[in-house]
């Protein structure tokens, strides 16, 4: 029942884009910090080892889905290998209308484009990609900041990744 309600909400936001802008104005941002972290890019674009990160709830069909029953969201992540094909992937996320992204995952996770950029040598390498689920609230924000996001950061460092491109749902 809750899932159906959330899916209905997602549909409303889809048909009335102005609702999203209004929602944003009322949104209370958790961490407003004057300090913004900064890692300067080293070298050229052709020397970058890039990973993609999405919060669109994308995962391998063979992997477990995100938890849609916890009202505070699911702060875990799923690994998406750099070689994954769009047909290997699916989306579990009730908080946005992903019918178009189901047709072409590249509008939330541009994996085919970056595979091509790596093959052309525009970038050096496409590394392991990761997906989270957006719509994480309350205590799960802490889990995200202190546990799951730092784990992904460590994994990316271990894979020699120099830069990440992040896309929301």
């Amino acid at each position: 029942m809750r899932r159906a309600f959330n899916q209905l909400g997602a549909w409303f936001y889809r048909v009335m884009p102005g609702l999203g802008q209004r929602w944003a104005k009322r949104f209370q941002v958790q961490t407003v910090e004057a300090h913004i972290p900064w890692a300067a890019v080293r070298g050229t674009l052709a020397q970058q080892r890039i990973s993609l990160i999405t919060t669109g709830g994308v995962h391998l069909r063979s992997d477990s889905a995100f938890d849609m029953h916890d009202p505070h969201g699911d702060p875990s992540f799923r690994l998406i290998p750099a070689s994954a094909k769009p047909n290997d992937l699916m989306i579990t996320h009730d908080y946005y209308d992903h019918r178009d992204a189901d047709q072409d995952v590249n509008i939330v996770l541009p994996i085919s484009h970056f595979q091509q950029l790596a093959a052309q040598g525009t970038i050096q390498h496409l590394g392991p990609c990761y997906s989270f689920m957006g719509h994480i609230t309350d205590e799960h924000i802490d889990t995200l900041i202190k546990q799951t996001a730092p784990t992904v950061a460590r994994n990316l460092r271990a894979a020699g990744i120099t830069a990440a491109v992040l896309t929301p749902a």
């Binding site: 802008q21 890692a39 460092r157 990440a164 491109v165 929301p168």
Partner: protein, 102 residues
Amino acid sequence: MGLIARVLEAAGISTVSFFLLAEIAQQLGVPRGVSVKFPFGHVLGEPHNVVQQQLLIKHGLDLLMQARQAGTFVQLPYRWKREDWAGLAQTQQVDLAQSDAQ
């Protein structure tokens, strides 16, 4: 989204983040942000519109390589389903060819 970018950047990985809601991203303080006023679930545009998706990705990679300070934010002017994407891509290629020639 912005929170994840901050964690990665603090760990030494340069990030560029796309957003649909510029207000949130700017309040949160992301290292490099690109926003586009498209509906939720369509941050890189329409399904199978390869030219459109490539153009948006190019904006992101340009920002990644060119931003020189934390909190650099670009708001893209594109209108949902009201742009000539093939024309825009062609114009950009001409611009690039001209800047290469100079």
